[in-house]
Symmetry: C2
Subunit: 340 residues, 2 copies
Amino acid sequence: MPYVSHQIRLACRPTGAPKPENFRSEEHTVREPGDGEVLLRTMYLSLDPYMRGRMSAAKSYAKSLEIGDVIMGGTVSEVIESRSVGLEPGQIVLGQGGWQSYSTERASELRVLDPDQAPVTTALGVLGMPGFTAYSGLLAIGDPQPGETVAVAAATGPVGSAVGQIAKIKGCRAIGIAGGPKKVAYLDELGFDAALDHRDDDLAGRLAEAAPDGIDVYFENVGGAVFDAVVPRLNLYARVPVCGLAATYNSTEAESGPDRLPELMGLVLRKSLTLRGFIQNEFRPSMFDDFLTDMSGWVRSGQLKYREDITDGLENAPEVFAGMLAGANFGKTIIKVGES
Amino acid sequence: MPYVSHQIRLACRPTGAPKPENFRSEEHTVREPGDGEVLLRTMYLSLDPYMRGRMSAAKSYAKSLEIGDVIMGGTVSEVIESRSVGLEPGQIVLGQGGWQSYSTERASELRVLDPDQAPVTTALGVLGMPGFTAYSGLLAIGDPQPGETVAVAAATGPVGSAVGQIAKIKGCRAIGIAGGPKKVAYLDELGFDAALDHRDDDLAGRLAEAAPDGIDVYFENVGGAVFDAVVPRLNLYARVPVCGLAATYNSTEAESGPDRLPELMGLVLRKSLTLRGFIQNEFRPSMFDDFLTDMSGWVRSGQLKYREDITDGLENAPEVFAGMLAGANFGKTIIKVGES
C-alpha cells in the first residue's frame, strides 16, 4: 500500500529570520523500502537551531540543504514496513526522517527506543542530541571541577538546562541566563545557583554579582550580548566550549566596529583561556554509552529535570522554528506530527 | 667592596612604540647579599616582547612595572659574592637580574649554567624561556601529528624558529612567515617547507599555495594581519596555541570596524577549532626536564639551529628593544652587558 508523505521543503534561502515563503509544502508517495530499509511514520520531529545554518549556502561543518530539499531533522517514528531482520512493524525508532510525515530510512542508522524506559520524545532532547551536546561539551571540554563556576545561556533550552544541572551534579556553582521572568523562575526550580534575565539592564553588572569568584566554564550556545558580558568575568584557565551561536544565526551582514577581535585575543592570551568549538558527533564514539547511562539515571532519580515544548501539526513547523530562533520556545522544541 | 650597578628604569609608560624618554639611566650601589643570596654581575640580558606588556598599566597575567622600577628581564650573570652554600664566585647562573649591570638575587631562584655543555647565552633563548615557550605550546596544545601542517609567524625569532624546527622533527610540514628576504632565506636554511614574507602582497593567497592541505596548527605569537591570513586556512579540529600578540603590543586604541569577532567565533564553531592562550610557566612543572633533554639533544645533533642577535652595551637596550618590537632583530635579541 503506498503511503503519502506530507513534506516541508526549502523553497528559498532565508535572509535573516526564516519566513513562511522560505518553505513550501508538498505531498509525495513514499518510496518502498529496499533491502535493509524500513518505512517509517513520523511521530515527533525535533526542531533545533543548527537547522538554520543548513538553510544557508554558507560553508559549514555540514552540507547545506539544496533548494527543494526536505528540511532535515531528528525524528521519532513508528516502523510501518520493514525489510530489515532486526526491525518489526510497531517498533519505535529514532532516525533522521526530516520535516515529513513518512520516510524511508536505512535500518542501520536507526536506534530502537523502549517506551517503557522513558517517554520516546526524550530521545530528541534530554536523552538525545541536545542532551549529549551538553554532556560531552561540558565534561570533555569544560572539565568542570567541584567548586568551580559554570555559566550557560539559553539556560531553559534543552542544551542549557542540561549543562546547568550536570554542573550542579559535578559540584559546581551554576549560573543560568535566559529571557523573561518565567524562564528565570524555572531556572530557580531547576536548582541553578543564580538565574539572570538577559533582557534586563546591566547584564554584565548582575553577572559580576552572581559570579563573585569569576567564571571557570562558559558553555557558549548563544553568542552576542551574553558572550560580551561573560568574557570579562572569565577566570585564568577558563574553558569555553562553543556549540552554537544562536544569536547570530539570522544576522545578515558584517557588524560595524569597533573590532572586538584584538581584545578577545588579548584576553585569551592574558588569561590562558581555551575556546573550543565542537559538534557532539566528535564525542559519540567515546562518550555516548556513558551519556545514556548517566543521563537516564539522573532523569530517573530526579536529579536532572527536562521540559518539552510540543506543538501539534507538521504544518506549524516553519512558524515554530522561527519562534525558537527568537527565543519563543520554553524547553525542547518538538513538533507532534499528526496521523495522515 | 661596594659595586655600582648601572640601571635602566621605567621613566614613564610608553604610548605606542617605546621611545628613549620612556627610560632613564641611574647608578646605584648594589645591596650586599644577605643569607641565601648572591651578588651577581650581569653578562647578558634577554630582551623579549612580553616586557612591553609590563610597561603598560593594563592588567595582564603578570604585575605591571611601576614608574621608577628597574625593567625586568632574564639575565646570565657571574657570581661575584655568595652567601649561599650552593654557589661560588665565578659560577655562571641564569636569573632575573633585569636591565642592570649588577644585581642581588636569591640563590634558590637561580639556575647554574655549565659553559662546557652549551654557550651560556642559549639559556636566554633556544634552551631557555623562548625555546620552552615553543616546545610546550607546540607539543602540549598544538599536539602536532606526523603529516600535519604547522604554521608560525615571526619565524626567525627564538620562539618561531624553534616551533618550525620541532614541527619538522615531529614529522610535520612547517610553514614560516617572516619579514624581508634575508629572514625568508634563513627559513629555507632551517628546513622550513615553505617560507613567506608578510611584507609581500597577498599573504592569504600565498599561504593557500604553501598549505594545499590547510593548516592544522597555527602557533600564534604575532596577531594582526598574519592571523587574518591564516584563520581561513585552518582545518577542522585545528589547534591555535596563543603565546603572544606582538603586532598589537604597541597599539593605542580600539581598532575600527568591521567587527571580526562574530566571524572568528563562527569559524571556531564550524571548524571545531581550539584557541588556547598560555604562558610557558604553566607547563614548567610537567615538561621542563623533558624540554632540556630534548632540545639540548637536538641542538647538539644539529637538528635544531638557533640564531642570536647580540648587541654590546646596556645603554643600547631601549633602542634595541623598540627595534625588536618592530621586527628589526634577526634571531634571539640579547644585550651583552659590559664590564663596569
